[in-house]
């Protein structure tokens, strides 16, 4: 008889799965990289990577696709965290893609560089010859993501074909690709938003300040609170006001909305999320609102 019940907590199961996935990639691919934006999911992914290879350093570089429209607090955090780890950080710049004529800047009040990132990302993957790219996306975020594999195959154009995905059984992942193709790898596939926050609390992981409640000048558009800054053109009919807000997701300033919140600690954030009735993307992301299949369409093109 077993002397104890070998039950494993949900965070331990999720962490063990993510560690297994990362080691599998490190063992089977030649040039992996980890997408690190300074957002909470990629911060958690980075911690899992530290754990997977400890006491050795993380055996792949970090990469950030910088739209040039990111929150300064997050960029500062990104650079500091990479330096602490002694990791190599590659910054692929959307501005460079615009300057090189690879993409054309959108114009008008709703202009965003969100969609332009895809080109920058794919160019960077090609330039650096990456064959596996870790992303922090989770299946609970969005319904197209709910169908995505842990090892998600991309063809030589970086495209995702949702109807022709490789079956994924047990803990066996198919890493075979031809030159020029790559695999997007999502170690946090089975985590929920609440799991991510529970993990941040358990591990005592530092996160950028904008996740916590703070005073900020904002204006309202389509029910979202957008920040007062140079890169978000604001109409005269969109008055500024000061509010106590926090960010539930961290993306580009042009399409990431803040939420009213007084949550000043990780514990308070967890309480808030446990009680909320709106999904994180629904509350904060303009990029998902354009149509029912907005995410699927962007993902097909090679988006994160």
């Amino acid at each position: 008889m077993l002397q104890r019940d070998y039950t494993t907590s949900q965070l331990d199961v999720l962490e063990a799965e993510a560690v297994h996935i990362m080691r599998e990639v490190a063992a089977e691919f030649e040039r992996p990289c980890l997408l690190f934006s300074g957002g909470k999911d990629s911060i958690v992914m980075l911690r899992v990577a530290e754990k997977a290879f400890w006491p050795a350093p993380i055996p792949f570089p970090l990469m950030h696709v910088d739209t040039g429209h990111n929150f300064p607090e997050v960029i500062e955090f990104r650079d500091r965290r990479a330096a602490e780890l002694g990791a190599r950080l590659i910054v692929a710049s959307v501005q460079d893609s615009i300057d090189a004529g690879r993409v054309v800047e959108e114009t008008g009040r709703r202009a965003s560089r969100n969609r332009l990132q895809t080109t920058t990302l794919l160019d960077a993957i090609e330039d650096h010859g990456f064959d596996a790219v870790f992303g922090g996306a989770r299946r609970d975020e969005e319904k197209a993501r709910a169908k995505e594999r842990v090892f998600s195959f991309r063809d030589e154009f970086g495209q995702w074909d949702p109807k022709n995905q490789r079956p994924e059984l047990w803990n066996l992942y198919n890493s075979r690709i031809r030159r020029g193709e790559h695999i997007r790898v999502f170690p946090l596939s089975n985590w929920t938003e609440l799991d991510v926050w529970d993990y941040i609390r358990r591990e005592g992981i530092e996160i950028p300040s904008i996740y916590f409640a703070h005073k900020r000048k904002v204006f309202e558009r389509d029910g979202m609170l957008l920040p007062d800054c140079d890169v978000v053109p604001r109409g005269e009919d969109e008055p500024l006001f000061e509010a106590v807000v926090r960010y539930r997701t961290v993306g580009d300033m042009t399409c990431t909305g803040a939420v009213y919140s007084t949550a000043a600690t990780v514990e308070e954030i967890i309480e808030e999320i446990a009680a909320t009735r709106i999904t994180e993307r629904g509350a904060t992301r303009a990029d998902d609102r354009s149509s029912e299949a907005a995410m699927e369409d962007r993902k097909r093109e090679g988006y994160f």
Partner: protein, 421 residues
């Protein structure tokens, strides 16, 4: 709080989406914006009720055709457990998707329409569940409201299914009469069926004991990655050599005598390392790093086990296989890549013994090949030894995938029945 992974099989007609929708809704895992989006789409399409299948059918093609094509993963939690649902399509043409969803499931729910009783598709789902060795099976007899909550009808179905299931490897079978639409016996016990003494579906999901489903007896540690820091700045790590992997069976402790395959050499576990410090025992599904007392040449794809409890060192495999592509057929002389635990090799199909009719369980020994979604028993010859157990004994060391060398696609899933050198 632990995790229960369960698979659901069935079609919209069985009320599967309604059931999942209710579990998600009652556990507050559906959010207002998701519900609004579903209501809006339902209205646009002229559907009179809120079609909860739209929550899980995430791809454009699925919504357009009104069918589930692929496995969708959904998440919810109660104070007792976190749940991962692998929502799989029920139709025979998506057998491979159900096999995929069942491969990691602790439990499967098969839905039966109380009016229609046990159908061909229910038998198929039960068979696939047993083939993939899902440890717990729940037969949810749905739409009890449409048979006047009749105990007699429920008992008829129970008897018929029990007699069928006796032919399968089903270790734990539970019958629950429910009405997903009205919520009877889904979250709480129904007042409409006082004759039913068992628990509600959610109560069962929260309490079914799964910790002992893992194999905690046979020590199996497939070496996944060798950690050698060699950081010039830290001389203490110069000689560090750790074998990283996820425990696939048994309980490992520092000091334990272990055997390395393929060398056959024995040594002891010096320490079990993690980022959070050394630990005193490791068991499935933990990902850890082992340090050993002796220097043995160990690399990815090797296996660490116990001297008196070893897996088969095998190049000849007898296996049940589910074929997953329509691009090529599986036939004798097919050459494929096999991935088993952390080892990848090439495999030759020596023989196809029979094709199994997944509806009738009839074995067609005249079959000469397997097509998409077909299941059969094959013999494989592998180019290098694999360290395998029978799938019935350990799903992680008994399962493998087959990859087509031409397309790199995953084309088959196999379960070891017998293994020989």
């Amino acid at each position: 709080m632990d995790i229960l992974r369960f698979a659901t099989a069935g079609s919209v007609d069985d009320g599967k989406s309604t059931l999942i929708g209710r579990l998600l809704f009652d556990s507050k895992a559906i959010f207002e914006d998701q519900l609004e989006a579903v209501e809006r789409t339902s209205r646009d399409r002229g559907t009179e009720y809120t079609d909860l299948s739209l929550l899980t059918d995430g791809l454009r093609a699925e919504r357009e055709q009104g069918i589930t094509i692929d496995v969708a993963y959904r998440y919810f939690a109660t104070p007792r457990r976190k749940f991962i649902i692998a929502d799989t399509p029920g139709h025979i043409q998506y057998t491979r998707n159900m096999v995929t969803g069942a491969s990691t499931a602790d439990l499967a729910i098969i839905l039966i329409d109380a009016r229609k009783g046990v159908l061909e598709q229910s038998r198929r789902h039960a068979f696939l569940t047993s083939l993939l060795r899902v440890p717990h099976l729940v037969l949810a007899v749905n739409k009890m409201d449409l048979v006047d909550y009749s105990e007699e009808r429920f008992e008829e179905i129970r008897e018929e299914f029990t007699s069928f299931a006796s032919k399968l490897n089903v270790t734990d079978l539970t019958f629950i009469p429910i009405s997903a639409l009205h919520g009877d016996n889904v979250v709480s016990r129904s007042e409409n069926m006082p004759w039913y003494q068992g628990s509600s579906l959610l109560h069962h999901l929260e309490n079914v004991h799964i910790a002992s489903d893992r194999n905690l007896v046979d020590v199996r540690f497939p070496v996944q990655y060798v950690i050698r820091p060699q950081r010039a700045t830290d001389p203490a790590l110069h000689d560090y050599r750790g074998y990283a992997g996820q425990v696939a069976g048994g309980i490992l402790k520092p000091g334990d005598e272990v055997l390395h395959l393929p060398s056959g050499l024995t040594t002891r576990i010096a320490a079990i390392d993690t980022y959070d410090g050394p630990i005193e025992e490791a068991f499935p599904p933990m990902s850890v790093t082992l340090r050993l007392e002796d220097d043995i040449d160990i690399s990815r794809g090797d296996m660490i086990c116990r001297p008196h409890n070893q897996p088969h060192v095998a190049q000849e495999l007898e296996a049940m296989v589910c074929w997953m592509t329509d691009a090529v057929r599986l036939a004798p002389r097919s050459k494929l890549v096999i991935k088993h635990t952390t080892r990848t090799a090439r495999a030759l199909v020596r023989d196809l013994h029979y094709r199994l009719d997944v509806n009738t369980l009839h074995r067609d020994e005249s079959a000469t090949s397997l097509g998409l979604n077909e299941i059969g028993r094959i013999s494989l010859r592998v180019t290098q030894p694999l360290f395998v157990d029978e799938y019935a004994r350990n799903r992680l060391t008994g399962g493998f995938i087959l990859i087509d060398e031409a397309t790199n696609g995953t084309v088959g899933a196999g379960m070891v029945v017998e293994a020989r050198a």
